[in-house]
């Protein structure tokens, strides 16, 4: 040891010990950068694969035809009476679409020799008659006019233009024939067929296995939104009240220790367990309906509570005790010191914790599967509060649903749904950051 102080070495040349220390530091930095690099790379690959697979879901092939809605056929009463108009089923609308298509094809001079009327109609989605019928029933004034109609093209045709379906695969496919693909190509050249942004994917309801082109996320987005409302309304006040009580008022004894340990444990309980709990308590015991956002919201509330409580307690703890002393010193009651001084200072942390909890809940799938939200739901739930008790889907469950279906067109839709989910999560995190900044600036 004493040698060191007498070392004659120059300051310009580092000694062996310093070199070793510097090398260790350089190595450690390199490890850190490698770790960050791996993380970033994984994220880039994930996003690239989701985006490349899923962006296609937002663009869809439409058949653009003018469909004449003849009054004699679609409004037999002639008075616009909806009860009478509803008697015309999708079959009637299907016939009209088929006739219009044949006419448009002839007008465009496309040769359809050797193809039956059924083959021709196969170009258009089976969903089209129902879409047209809903359109007319929603706006009876369309009767007697010619409606410019954007019908979904068959999913295979859509796949053909997105490169998923080829002539070879069509030859082996019972849902589509190479002739129909040739026809579709001709229609596209004549402007009867076009690729456009698909609002139906975001706002429309789910569709059956056979109509991937019509499947949308509307019900799932609404269901998720309803659940988030329930989670926010229940978990935020309960969580914040619990945290304030435990942090500021509760005596330090064995009971509060036990509660604290259990809250931490609760945060680590697998989410599927909460699903079983929800099934047993809310549905079997409480008699709440299956597949309803209210049950999903309650289950997700239970899951989110520990997150909110832990975040809130941490931010309450982080408020300097001098602020509490100051408030008590001027004669504020404990309650006043907390609500006037401590809570506002803890607010950014509480909000961040809450939104992270909500984001977690938004992406949660497993418990929802158990309470029946995996069901196929096509009908939009009503506005709240009644809508809370009606069947709905949820975004992550919809992703799961899409991946379970056989038609390859659902691959793109599953990735598209993931993109929508990610957009919501990013938006929520952005709100968290915004609120944090905003509340912090005030102090």
């Amino acid at each position: 040891m004493t040698d060191l102080s007498h070392s004659p070495a120059s300051l310009y040349a580092p000694d062996a010990r310093t070199r070793r220390r510097n090398a260790a530091e350089a190595r450690f930095r390199a490890y850190g950068m490698i770790a960050v690099g791996i993380g970033v790379l994984a994220l880039v690959i994930l996003l690239a694969s989701v985006l490349s697979n899923g962006l296609g879901a937002f663009r869809q092939t439409f058949v653009v035809i003018d469909v004449p809605i003849e009054a004699a056929k679609f409004d037999k009463s002639g008075t616009g009476d909806l009860a009478v108009m509803k008697k015309v089923t999708t079959v009637g609308y299907g016939t009209a679409i088929q006739a219009a298509l044949v006419q448009e094809l002839a007008k465009a001079g496309i040769d359809t020799k050797g193809m039956s009327a059924k083959d021709l109609k196969g170009v258009i989605s089976q969903e089209a008659p129902a879409t047209l019928r809903n359109m007319v029933l929603a706006d009876p004034s369309l009767v007697g006019t010619t409606v410019p109609f954007y019908a979904y093209a068959n999913g295979r045709i859509d796949g053909f233009f997105k490169g998923r379906v080829t002539m070879e695969s069509a030859a082996l496919d019972s849902n589509i024939s190479p002739q129909q693909l040739v026809l579709a190509q001709q229609m596209r050249d004549k402007g009867l067929l076009t690729l456009a942004f698909n609002w139906g994917f975001i706002f429309g309801p789910d569709a059956s296995e056979l109509r991937p082109e019509a499947a949308g996320l509307g019900v799932a987005i609404l269901g998720s939104a309803y659940m988030m409302i329930i989670v926010l309304v229940l978990a935020l006040p309960i969580g914040v009240a619990t945290s304030i009580y435990l942090e500021e008022f509760a005596p330090q004894n064995r009971w509060t220790d036990l509660i604290e340990v259990n809250i931490s444990n609760l945060a680590a309980v697998p989410s599927i367990v909460f699903g079983i709990l929800g099934l047993a308590i809310f549905i079997n015991l409480g008699g709440l309906p299956q597949s309803a956002p209210i049950v999903g919201g309650l289950v997700l509330t239970l899951m989110t509570l520990p997150t909110i409580i832990i975040a809130t307690r941490a931010s309450l703890k982080a408020v300097p005790p001098s602020i509490r002393d100051a408030a008590l010193g001027v004669g504020a009651s404990k309650m006043q010191s907390i609500f006037h001084h401590v809570l506002p200072l803890a607010m950014p942390g509480i909000l961040t914790g809450t939104i992270i909890g909500l984001a977690q809940a938004l992406g949660e799938t497993a418990p929802l599967l158990l309470i029946g939200m995996v069901a196929f739901v096509r009908d939009f739930p009503d506005a709240p509060p009644a809508g809370f008790f009606e069947p709905a889907s949820a975004l992550p469950v919809q992703v799961y649903n899409f991946t379970q279906r056989a038609d390859p067109a659902f691959v793109e839709r599953a990735s598209g749904a993931i993109i929508v989910l990610l957009v919501f999560l990013i938006a929520m995190n952005a709100i968290a950051i915004f609120l944090r900044r905003r509340f912090e600036r005030r102090w």
């Binding site: 001098s322 100051a326 010193g329 001027v330 004669g331 006037h340």
Partner: protein
């Protein structure tokens, strides 16, 4: 505002404002303060001196029951304010603290505007009827704390943006805004530079005309400069209590002498 009380208090001068009899404080099993009996006079600055950990801050915090906020802390004995036992179960510490204000070691303004800092106490105690009265109280308090001229143009600026000395004077203004009868100061100058310290000391001397001031300090010079009465604490005991001049020039107890001459502490 409360002229009646001021008139009354001039009559009470040199009478005990607060008295403590056989006060014991325990932190868990630790007997932190032993048999402290002291009379704190009205309109007087009383200084508590002693080495770190001797119990002087603990005793100060007993006087407005701030020790209630520490769960393991237990206080026995009798402490009275104007003859009323503040340890009594019927006494609400919130009301007590409005009468016995406190200034802390580290300046701790609320992260709010200067105005709100001072207005907070009168507001929660409902001492003012309207905005004009509140404005008046805020101005008077800031004037008494000798900071009005520095902040009058920026009352809405955050109190945390002031310098350390200004923050401490703001805290004093906040403490006197509720017109307390006793003002407790826990090492109010330990975080301040000499200039700010001099300002606060001058202020303490002025405040003496209206309040009874109790100050805990590590600086014996400060105790000698500002106080009329001094109490010396050592290892949880009140060793000696008397006129400041007598304590510093002619201490009766050898421990006091050792401390003020720098041999223990």
């Amino acid at each position: 505002m409360n002229d009646m009380r001021i008139v009354e208090r001039t009559v009470d001068t040199n009478q005990a404002k607060m008295t403590a009899r056989d006060v014991q404080v325990y932190y868990g099993d630790n007997h932190a303060l032993k048999d402290v009996s002291v009379d704190i006079l009205d309109k007087t600055v009383t200084a508590f001196i002693g080495p770190s950990g001797c119990g002087k801050s603990t005793f100060l915090r007993c006087l407005n029951r701030m020790n209630d906020t520490i769960p393991i802390c237990r206080v026995t004995g009798e402490i009275t304010l104007d003859g009323q036992n503040i340890q009594d179960k019927r006494v609400d510490p919130v009301q007590l603290r409005a009468k016995v204000g406190m200034v802390f070691q580290k300046p701790n303004p609320f992260p709010k505007s200067i105005y709100d800092n001072v207005a907070y106490g009168p507001k929660i105690h409902g001492q003012t009827r309207n905005k004009a009265e509140l404005d008046e109280v805020v101005e008077q308090s800031l004037r008494k704390a000798a900071i009005w001229n520095e902040v009058k143009d920026r009352l809405q600026a955050p109190g945390t943006g002031l310098s350390g000395g200004q923050q401490q004077r703001l805290c004093i203004a906040r403490a006197i805004a509720t017109s307390p009868e006793v003002l407790l100061m826990d090492e109010p100058c330990s975080a301040l530079d000499p200039i700010a310290t001099a300002q606060v000391e001058e202020l303490i001397d002025e405040l003496r005309s209206q309040f009874s001031v109790v100050i805990v300090t590590h600086s014996m010079q400060q105790a000698a400069r500002v106080s009329q009465k001094t109490a010396f604490f050592h290892l949880g005991n009140l060793v000696e209590y008397g006129e400041t001049g007598q304590i510093f020039t002619n201490p009766k107890d050898p421990r006091t002498e050792s401390y003020i001459t720098g041999r223990i502490g």
